[in-house]
Symmetry: D2
Subunit: 296 residues, 4 copies
């Protein structure tokens, strides 16, 4: 879930003059971090940034559990469709995609995953999902949701193969994952807002429904991620700012990872807020882990 | 699943003279890699080693899906107990632990996870498992399985709190995760092999069953990991050896990660063997990912 | 999900004069059928009724899959709470309750079931849910939802044990499953509509949230059951009316079950609408099933 | 899981003379009950029988949870195959089939269900499984298991479509669900016992593996149902015998259902043995359920 690239571009275009005074920033989104790393590689990054998105306390929780629930929430509010027994196609098996696939299965859907990364594709398969190219999935899906951070994941050759009544949505980054202009070029007619946030395109006599104009469906048609998971992302962000401010000397322009100490601190606070206690290593155990001489 | 530390110690103790001629090695187990890194930090590592265990094509698959299934297989063969409706306590939520917790739930158990790492504990909770200290879990569990790679995870204070009929097993590394000597010291009597691989200890009038003497239950009471998941680990190992042999100049003594190219190659081969095809990035998509100027 | 008893009472009170001309009726709700059977037992039922609720094509689908999804939908819209990692207490393990428990687990919750029926309680346990009396569950739950068709399932002794922040809702029948007057009598203050459909009661310093004033949360805060599952109930109802009208002689006043033929017809139509084909028995198989002489 | 028909036939053929002295019997299997009802319809049943199989405390638990676990146990012991990521075809969605489908999914398989009953097929679909005719499933399956109680569920036209390496097993009733003679007629060669309980047939160059010669795989290759679920079936059987013996006058020859009181008694005993307490209806609730006048 992401509109980070907007922020990155805005920073780049509009705030050049202010940059010398900026101590640093944090970036909350996958797409944003990808772009910041590309900027760093190009020498275009002018101040240090902490990749909060890449923290486990952010992406493993917010991206997975937050996107999983809120995306289904947005789709259900927009369509009021029963997910049980439907073929639900998830494009992308990153943290967002795996959260979404897991929750869609949890609601009774038959889930297909598409991927471009062979390791992720294999993991999806071992998790019990069907895995196939989008051209094949296009013919089977009742619902499709893109969560890739890339462009034109659903495009002309896919629209042409879809079933009557297919429902398309995006929960990845902004409105380019579904190639809406290509769909508009194919269509014989569009009926806007057949329900709020639902546009109906007719392609070769078949109806294809696009939710929220291909924008992030959980933000457009629902309330985005629940506060009870965003709290972890925001805590990580706030503490990353503090960490940055405390560094002596000042950090040089680059993309920095969140420290393990900071991650463990956020997770411990969250567990405490949930009333959950956990074990601690005993002295004997700490010594055992550190000492390679044990074990014969 | 691991007896790697044995190997590491053997290498250290017995093969000192041969070391100058060794091109390098690969390490397949979590415990082994922990120890090799400790050896490297101590300057005790005499040749390069590739940490095959840490490859995604190893730990995400072999440790998770392999250990998950084979551990339950070992427990069921040893005890013939119905898992549905039982309280199953998993100590450790690394790759092995999460595979085991997932599969135990898949068999209908009510799963409790114990952890010492706050991020992993939180992840277990968000995955729907109960999370608590072992002292509390000890009172509830019908079955316990340690998958931590550490020592004395189940110990005196836990045995004393267990219910009559509790079943203890280990699928982590060798026979130190359950403190068997402490149990033997508490016991009023032991009946060996009440079923094959099952010893019955009586503690304060309650029966506690230990499987396979606390050794790896999937190796002792079942057949270890299925070949259809070990293939990935072995392919990663073989290709890591080839990679090592091809390096010019020779690698210096250190612990090396498996390269992304090698991982993707193994995963692609595995997908092909399963008859699964996936998508490839289009030129437009590759360009989009690389270019941070997009996105407004 | 049910407001059938309303209908039954209305029929009883207001339409006495019309009854001689009524050919018959159908009843769509669990509570309604319970009451109609009680009326029949009292000799108070004046015309024949088909218990559409008890048809497999109704209760196994509408009650289970419809209530499961729509109840979570109502709760999420009202509260925007993340379900992953929360303790979700489901009171009642009938078709509605098992649908709700299954879907709550599918969203990552740790689910507790309460029951008064020992067979259903045992089934819930074997399905992997925790089962306990409501007095114990009251202390653990983050969310509670009643789906029993009974009165005062959540009451004074439960409110007193709840945690700060507990969220109460009902998806069973009308607003008596949660004893709101008892809660109001305990409270030190009520804040109405802290979010739409959410009232905050303070009891001994703890906040307890009641959704939709204890009315059916899926109807009040969401859109009720999706059309794609109600279609089966309505088809069963329409065809039951036709069946009733075709009976010669007229049916006598009693509660009638939907016939197997009618159920199979509805299910076959639904499968066809989903593009799903199934097997048919071969002649050999039909003969085998009918003939008890086979099998040695 | 069933070899009841054998028993029924044996009774019919060999014990005619003893029948006048038989007080009655109980029948534990689905197939047995089907045949007993057919015998009753033909006037061939000579003494009363209680259909223990149809008791909820038997079929909902033993058939579902027992068969689910023990069938996978038998398949894994025979083949040592990893289930994660495999296509697992379950023929039949009765209690045995739904238990097996649920557990196979719980082990990470991609599950296809085949059925001849439209209501059951629809339920399987709404539970998230793929549903299709066996002719289509035959082309996709890595593993097949029949749990139908019928004959020749896997037959010539299916064998011809299977993939190289397909694994066939039966957990329904005796060795007629897979048409082994038809497979033998197709084959170019058989290798017996390539592993214990595994025969390899070659058909048009493809290898097809049959487990346990098509006999009940959980009995042949594992230990049958765990005692901790059979206890319920046996308790139901024992108490049904007592009930039968207490009837005055003696029951006439017919098939009788287990009473609700008896079922509730067995379930209550089982819950107590698991340390689980449940709620009881309050007086107010009992009155509410019985009285149709409530409800506005």
């Amino acid at each position: 879930m992401d509109d980070g690239a907007d922020l990155v571009s805005t920073i780049h275009n509009d705030y050049q003059e202010l940059i010398p005074d900026i101590l640093g920033g944090t970036e909350e989104t996958t797409t944003g971090v990808i772009r910041l790393r590309a900027m760093a590689a190009d020498g275009a990054l002018k101040f240090p940034v902490v990749a909060v998105n890449d923290a486990k306390t952010k992406n493993m929780f917010d991206n997975r559990y937050g996107t999983g629930q809120s995306t289904l929430d947005g789709i259900i509010r927009a369509t009021d469709i029963l997910l049980a027994g439907k073929v639900f196609v998830v494009a992308g098996y990153g943290w967002c995609g795996r959260g979404l696939a897991l929750r869609a299965r949890g609601m009774g859907a038959d889930v297909i995953v598409t991927e471009v990364d062979s390791v992720k594709a294999l993991e999806a398969r071992m998790d019990g999902f069907r895995v196939m190219p989008m051209e094949a999935a296009a013919e089977e899906g009742d619902l499709f949701c893109t969560v890739t951070g890339n462009i034109h994941v659903l495009r002309k050759e896919h629209f042409e193969r879809m079933k009557d009544g297919a429902i398309l949505s995006n929960s990845g980054h902004f409105d380019v994952e579904i190639d809406i202009p290509a769909l508009a070029a194919l269509t014989e007619g569009v009926r806007k807002d057949v329900r709020p946030f639902v546009d109906e395109y007719t392609v070769a006599g078949k109806r294809i429904y696009v939710l929220a104009e291909g924008r992030l469906v959980n933000l457009a048609a629902a309330e985005g991620h629940p506060a009870s998971v965003m709290d972890m992302s925001f805590a990580t962000q706030a503490l990353a700012c503090e960490w940055m401010a405390r560094q002596e000397p000042r950090l040089t322009p680059a993309v920095y990872d969140v420290t393990n100490e900071l991650e463990n601190g956020v997770a411990s606070l969250k567990l405490a807020s949930m009333g959950i206690q956990i074990d601690a290593l005993t002295d004997e155990q700490q010594k055992y882990l550190a000492d390679w001489r044990h074990g014969t």
